[in-house]
């Protein structure tokens, strides 16, 4: 059912956890099938310095989160923002069709975390001005 890469990431998920003083937080959830993911990022010089995630969900959801965190780490925001669901699925050696939409939410959560960071930054600049 699942590729070896999926099972490997599920068995040893990278970057799980929470960043208490995160620069950006992104949360996505699909109450229909129940997967929920939260991504935390620390940003320095427009680059993702640190990334952590928490995931409630199936094997695919956990592997996707782990893979997205790996793909995002050390990347410039503009690049990380463009990580697609397709790219994540490909990096995982494919996902079962029924899991493509439901569990493949990691890239969305990451994009929301980046957006959160950018909005906070904009807010900070405005309040300084």
């Amino acid at each position: 059912m699942y590729s070896e890469t999926v099972m490997e990431h599920f068995g040893n998920p990278r970057n799980t956890g929470v960043i208490e003083d995160a620069d950006g937080v992104g949360e996505v959830g699909n109450p229909q099938c129940g997967d929920m993911m939260t991504f935390y990022i620390k940003v320095k010089d427009d680059t993702i310095e640190e990334v952590k995630f928490q995931t409630f969900g199936c094997v695919a959801a956990i592997a996707v989160s782990s893979m997205v965190s790996e793909m995002a780490k050390g990347k410039r925001l503009a690049v990380a923002q463009k990580i697609t669901k397709k790219a994540v699925a490909e990096a995982l050696g494919g996902l079962p069709p029924q899991k493509m939409h439901c569990s493949n939410l990691g890239a969305d959560a990451l994009a929301l975390a980046i957006k959160d960071y950018q909005e906070k930054k904009k807010g900070a600049v405005l309040s300084v001005a």
């Binding site: 129940g34 409630f56 969900g57 199936c58 094997v59 439901c102």
Partner: protein, 395 residues
């Protein structure tokens, strides 16, 4: 790595005695039971001999047993066959909300294509149909009521004699799906007061592709597989002879071992349930605490998702089942878990263990060592669990 198989309700190995009985019917005794020469009539005699054994398991007579290809087919024949044979009586059906898909979808088929009205009867939080609710749901046009004997998802056993009696008073046909209880709980169709009862072979250690339907004498059924006069015209198609003789042997063994089996299964179940409730926080023991299948333990662990837990246990050699949406192709939470009032989030953390005669106490001990770690691991990176903990500590 050792293999601890605790999904016995989903599939179980064919029993050696069953396989041994089946084997000659693949090559030596291959005759068509409908043929009039000895190669055929000998096989026909074998079918009847084993039909009697299946009948004995449930206290019925031989000619009230129809062999089918599985429990789902028996359920389809019961629901559609009886409803369509009694159209003059009305077009109202009642099924419980926690029936097997083969019952729920057969009822929906009649609703969609034959203008039936279907009442999906709610259950209480233990998953039991309350007799008063059934009484209120019965109408003058109710033809048939179908309520399972026990749930393979939450283990709860229904009060069938009481429910069946209500229907009999009103002249309504009563069907029960006894796939989960056969071999674990005594089945006597007279005492239960049922008109139709479904059995499945694999649950008894017979081969996949076998099942049977009991029907009360004189009850009319419209066949759902139209062909010749096999099964007295109630189910067409050449009989699955090896499967049938295997089912007969399995039924006979099940009858003989019932008390011992129930005792063994119950001791394993109670050991697991006690251990899980002691060792793991935030767990719901689903179904009825006492009125349940002897070999069935079901839980919902908060803060995690069942499919992930199944795979994690699998990696440690433990095999179990889940009603989580993520594990179903349809990506829908089990209707049974919704019907007993669990939120979709909690229902996602469902896990089901079912035991067989071959399981041992040491295997449960191993599960009790591994399961708490697996649960803790998934909770350690679950945002749902984190929120629950934060709320609990007032943060």
């Amino acid at each position: 790595m050792k293999r601890i198989y605790l999904d016995q309700a989903a599939a179980a190995p064919v029993r050696p005695e069953v396989l041994e009985t089946m084997l000659p019917y693949f090559q030596e005794r291959f005759g068509n039971p409908s043929a009039v020469y000895d190669l055929g009539t000998q096989v026909k005699d074998s079918i009847e001999e084993h039909r009697a054994r299946v009948a004995t398991l449930i206290g019925a007579r031989r000619h009230n047993i129809i062999f089918t290809s599985c429990g789902a087919e028996a359920n389809n024949l019961a629901i559609k066959g009886a409803a369509l044979a009694h159209l003059k009586q009305g077009r109202h059906l009642i099924v419980s909300a926690i029936e097997h898909h083969s019952v729920l979808n057969a009822a929906r088929f009649l609703e969609k294509f034959h203008d039936f009205e279907v009442t999906f009867l709610p259950v209480n939080r233990y998953g039991q149909v309350e007799p008063e609710r059934l009484r209120k749901a019965l109408t003058p046009s109710t033809v048939l009521v179908s309520i399972q004997h026990a749930s393979n998802e939450i283990g709860t056993v229904q009060h069938i004699p009481e429910l069946a009696a209500l229907c009999r008073e009103q002249g309504v046909i009563f069907h029960t799906d006894a796939v989960a209880t056969a071999g674990s709980i005594p089945l006597e169709v007279q005492e239960m007061g049922v008109d139709l009862l479904t059995l499945s072979g694999p649950a008894l250690g017979a081969a996949k592709g076998t099942g049977a339907l009991y029907f009360r004498p004189q009850l009319r059924l419209v066949p759902q597989i139209h062909s010749g006069i096999q099964e007295n015209g109630r189910r067409g198609g050449t009989e699955n002879v090896p499967g049938i003789v295997g089912l007969g042997v399995a039924a006979e063994l099940a009858k003989g071992e019932l008390a011992e089996r129930a005792r063994h299964l119950k001791s394993l179940r109670d050991h697991l349930v006690r251990g899980v409730l002691e060792r793991i926080p935030a767990v719901i023991h689903t179904g009825h605490p006492e009125e349940r299948l002897p070999g069935h333990a079901s839980f919902c662990f908060e803060g995690l998702e069942g499919e992930a837990l199944i795979f994690l246990l699998n990696s440690r050699g433990i095999y179990a089942n889940t009603g989580s949406a993520c594990a179903s192709k349809a990506l829908k939470v089990s209707p049974t878990l919704c019907a007993i009032g669990l939120s979709p989030e909690v229902a996602q953390g469902s896990i089901v263990f079912t035991f067989g005669l071959s399981n041992l106490k040491e295997e449960v001990d191993y599960v009790l060592r591994e399961l708490p770690q697996a649960v803790e691991r998934l909770r350690s990176f679950s945002p749902v669990w984190r929120k629950k903990m934060a709320a609990a500590s007032g943060g």
